[in-house]
Symmetry: C2
Subunit: 173 residues, 2 copies
């Protein structure tokens, strides 16, 4: 159900968090840091922009920032943003098709309410979404922080500020 897109998106948001408030790294920098395909990451970022999670500034010193505080961005929001509100189960209303009646004239009862099987799936989907909706980017970042040394984290931040700085001053390539 969830694949590389979601993984890229979440890790990149985490990296955006490490980079710090005033960095605004570009898609290329974010991709380089994690060694991801640049062009593809751009699309992922676009999806997240449309969902209002991040915002891009254009031009030479352009780059990406959080549009919302990472404390308010849940994993569910990210998944929905890049995968487009995927359903756990796509009900085809099989119940209406039965040998006991013609296809074009099912009895009224066969279509009333939600399909019982569909209902079970919807319930499971709600459980899934509830779980994903309870965790935020900041949550995860703090969790990771607790397990890594502050030196390492400072290294991350420094890499971004240095990379972004040289680009802005035209020292690139």
């Amino acid at each position: 159900m969830y694949g590389a897109r979601e993984e890229y998106a979440l890790h990149t948001l985490l990296n955006l968090y490490w980079a710090g408030e005033d960095a605004a790294p570009s898609a290329r920098e974010l991709a380089d840091f994690q060694k991801l395909p640049v062009a593809y990451l751009r699309k992922v970022m676009s999806s997240m922009e449309q969902a209002g999670l991040v915002v891009a500034t254009e031009g030479r010193r352009g780059g990406w920032r959080f549009a919302t505080a990472p404390e308010r961005i849940t994993v569910l929001m990210v998944a929905d943003a890049v995968a487009g509100r995927q359903r756990l189960f796509e009900c085809q209303e099989i119940r209406a098709r039965c040998a006991l009646w013609p296809d074009d004239a099912p009895p009224a009862g066969a279509q009333r309410g939600t399909c019982a099987i569909h209902a079970v799936m919807l319930e499971a989907e709600a459980a899934l979404r509830g779980s994903l909706g309870a965790r935020t980017i900041a949550d995860i970042a703090l969790e990771v922080s607790a397990k890594t040394s502050s030196v390492t984290r400072e290294g991350y931040r420094a890499w971004f500020t240095q990379r972004v700085g040289t680009r802005a001053r035209g020292e690139g390539q």
Copy 2:
């Protein structure tokens, strides 16, 4: 994540339930009743047989029965049987790839424990599986029974016993 396979499997188990203990309908009969593709349903049934949910008797009067009481068959078991224990998320250990170190020599800390993002996904997967594991085929059947008239349900059962009967007696064309 879940599609036609699961829908076919669950509806067919429900139909097996309506057919009654002593019916043993064939794949063709089960498919005809719900107007499903026969050859495909056979494969779905095979998956469920391998998982120990249903059992087939071969030969002319052959057909399908429950291998386990429908009270003990959860929706999760069915989904796992036909979809093969799908993961919600396939972690690619992206965290090990970083511009700060060479690909072939990541620091020990970067790989220790489970990836934080992966952990969130595993938790959500557990919530999903917990929800699906709490509902059984018999549950759903009783739920549907409560919403349909006994005449309708008797019609289902009669259709199967009649169909299975004529086949066994060689009156089928």
